[in-house]
């Protein structure tokens, strides 16, 4: 008997389905197992029903996983392709960056070189880098190099005190934006004149890079020196006109303007805080003191001008600097700074005036007031004078 074609011998659909869903008791399940182990027809039914169950349940699972109304993102199907695409794009970007990246340049440092004695008085031998020059040329100098220059100059300044025979003439780039006098690094022994910014090879063999950088800097300074002079002249003329205007506009307006200028020019507290005032190259070049040295401090009151040269000699001029007279020494120590002082009426507030960009500090008194001068020596002592010639300690 071919029992596989006898339907009465097979479990019905309800029993087979209950067996497939594992809801039969053990006794009935073992009975169905015994049947399907020998009945290929019922096994085939189970296999096909299982395949159909997977097909029927798949859409239900998808619908359950995604709530109704939620739209599938348009890029969801591309999710797998984003990863290799992003990696490929990153590789291309890296290759382009490496291809077009400029060759690394050695870090550069600005180095202050003090001119020889009398160099500033000779118009043909000017300091190679005025502040404007330095400012113009600094974009090619990396910021870290400028920082190194400043720190190097500071170290040199600390290591070697100021020498009257070799006055500092140049400041680093960090001093350019302020009229505040800054400590000037002393010149290295045996160095040439002028400002040079020298490359600093990274901690080894600086000489080759220094030479290359020196040549490049020299060319740049020569190219922009004319612009620097013009800018310095324009700035000085502007400041003079401003002071004269303030002097004529009354005491109150003058005080306000002077206070403003003082704040702008001396953010750290004024002249007394700077132990070694510096002067700019162009100003030093235009002032011709009898000693031939560069003035380190000067003050103007009407037509009277007082100046201290690098040797500590005080000069006074009654004709706006055309002729100079050396003042006999009546003080102790080395004079470093001369300035206007307040008169008893309070009208003689000195106004800081920046000559040049290197921090040269000079003062001008309003023409309507009686000038009174102060001089500060290297010991911090102050002498006062009304005419600039007779001095007494304060």
């Amino acid at each position: 008997m071919n029992y596989t074609l006898q339907p009465d011998l097979h479990p019905d659909a309800d029993l087979l389905n209950a067996f497939a869903e594992q809801v039969l008791p053990e006794r009935e399940q073992a009975r169905v197992f015994g049947h399907i182990a020998a009945c290929s027809r019922c096994r085939q039914i189970l296999y096909l029903a299982q395949e159909a169950a997977e097909v029927m349940e798949a859409p239900a699972r998808v619908a359950a996983a995604r709530p109704e109304g939620e739209k599938k993102a348009w890029f969801a199907g591309w999710r797998v392709t984003w990863v290799p695409a992003a990696g490929f794009a990153a590789l291309i970007a890296a290759a382009i960056t490496l291809h077009f990246r400029p060759a690394p340049q050695p870090p550069e440092v600005a180095k202050a070189i003090v001119p020889e004695m009398g160099a500033t008085t000779n118009p043909s031998i000017r300091p190679p880098a005025s502040p404007e020059t330095v400012r113009t040329s600094t974009p090619s100098v990396p910021a870290n190099a400028r920082g190194v220059a400043d720190s190097t100059a500071q170290r040199e300044s600390e290591a070697e005190p100021e020498s009257p025979a070799s006055p500092p003439t140049v400041v680093g780039a960090s001093n350019l934006s302020s009229a505040q006098p800054q400590p000037v690094p002393p010149p290295p022994s045996g160095s040439g004149q002028g400002f040079t910014a020298q490359p600093v090879p990274q901690k080894s063999n600086p000489e080759t890079a220094v030479d290359a950088w020196q040549q490049e800097r020299q060319r740049a300074m020569e190219a922009i020196s004319a612009h620097a002079d013009a800018a310095a002249k324009a700035t000085q003329a502007k400041m003079h006109s401003t002071v004269e205007h303030m002097a004529s506009s009354g005491a109150s307006a003058y005080n306000a303007a002077a206070t403003k200028m003082q704040i702008q020019s001396a953010p750290t507290g004024g002249f007394a805080t700077s132990p070694a005032p510096r002067i700019s190259g162009p100003t030093a070049a235009r002032l011709a003191l009898p000693s031939g040295l560069t003035p380190v401090s000067l003050v103007t009151a009407q037509n009277q001008v007082l100046a201290i040269d690098q040797g500590g000699t005080l000069f006074v001029s009654d004709d706006s600097g055309k002729s100079w007279v050396a003042v006999e020494r009546q003080w102790t120590g080395k004079p470093l700074q001369v300035r206007l002082r307040r008169s008893s009426s309070g009208a003689g507030v000195f106004a800081a005036q920046a000559h040049g960009d290197a921090g040269q500090a000079s003062t001008s008194a309003p023409s309507s007031t009686v000038p009174s001068f102060e001089m500060v020596n290297d010991g911090g002592e102050v002498w006062i004078s009304r005419d600039g010639r007779a001095w007494k300690p304060r």
Binding site: D14, L15, I36, A38, R41, Y47
Partner: protein, 315 residues
């Protein structure tokens, strides 16, 4: 063509009233009414009560005939059933139109997809699903009566699973009936009587003993292990497919398979030893080339006669 259920609600109710009655506890009736939400199928409470009484009386709540089930036994019986599916199927079989609407909304499209998956063809699948729908609507008659296959659903499994199994049954039966039908005019399939099998030479005695030992060992295997062996070695199912049928993990099937093979081997060894072979001779016999054996594994695995089931398959 307009198709309507085979019976009206009134005739169905009249038919239900003819079934043997069973005392059903009123509280249980109320509980079952709330649980299966029969009102969604358009059934009244009286119709629902008639259906579940008929179901319980037909199976005597799973108890032996003659035993009066208690309320707890009735509750346990009905709670073990898919009562919602069962009520829907019975309501459809009784001709309730709202039940049919719900049935179509729930199962029409899934049934077509299942039929396509079973047949592997869109056309055959839709034909198969359509023919089943025709039967479910009661378009077939037997002995002058319209019969609905849904009335044979007893609620032990899900109604969807029952429908899938019905589809698979019909497809398998159709294939088994028609696979020997060949077109007459097809020269490629023209009848070619097989050549007479050569008379096998007398096999060695130890191989004959091995055949018998193997046949005995397979016959003594547990039903589940024989099913695993048949599914894997005869039907060519993968471990994953078998695992899905049995709803266990693939590793579980693999472990059971190895265990079954080891048992068959040990049983064959035991049978060979019982047949008078020494241990060494038995091991040598087991190492014989299977091609030398006159063994049809399919025949061996299928030789055991399954227990006849009293339940008739749905025709």
């Amino acid at each position: 063509m307009e198709i309507s259920p085979l019976q009206s609600a009134e005739s169905a109710e009249a038919a239900l009233s003819a079934v043997p009655r069973m005392a059903l506890h009123p509280a249980l009736q109320e509980e079952l009414w709330r649980e299966c939400s029969a009102q969604k199928s358009g059934l009244t409470k009286a119709e629902f009560t008639a259906i579940i009484v008929r179901i319980g009386a037909a199976q005597n709540c799973g108890l032996a005939p003659g035993i009066v089930p208690s309320r707890e036994q009735q509750a346990a019986f009905f709670h073990s059933l898919r009562l919602g599916d069962l009520v829907l199927a019975q309501a459809c079989a009784a001709g309730n139109e709202r039940a049919w609407e719900q049935f179509l909304a729930l199962y029409q499209q899934p049934l077509v997809r299942a039929a396509i998956a079973i047949t592997g063809s869109d056309t055959l699948g839709r034909d198969l699903a359509g023919s089943l729908y025709a039967e479910l609507f009661g378009l077939t008659e037997r002995e002058g009566e319209r019969r609905c296959p849904l009335s044979s659903y007893k609620g032990r499994g899900s109604l969807a699973g029952w429908l899938r199994t019905i589809l698979a049954q019909r497809h398998v039966d159709h294939c088994r009936r028609s696979h020997r039908e060949l077109p007459i005019d097809d020269p490629l399939n023209s009848f070619d009587p097989p050549a007479p099998e050569p008379q096998p030479a007398n096999p060695p005695a130890e191989l004959t003993v091995l055949d018998k030992a193997l046949e005995t060992a397979l016959g003594r295997q547990a039903a589940e292990e024989r099913f695993l062996l048949a599914a894997y070695y005869v039907d060519g199912q993968t471990l994953l497919q078998i695992a899905r049928v049995l709803r266990v993990h693939e590793a579980t099937v693999s472990r059971k398979m190895h265990r079954a093979i080891d048992r068959v081997r040990n049983q064959v060894m035991k049978n060979l030893r019982d047949a008078g072979l020494s241990r060494r001779a038995a091991e040598e016999a087991l190492g014989a080339d299977p091609r030398d054996l006159n063994i049809n594994l399919k025949k061996l695995l299928q030789s055991s006669q399954p227990d006849p089931f009293q339940e008739k398959a749905v025709r």
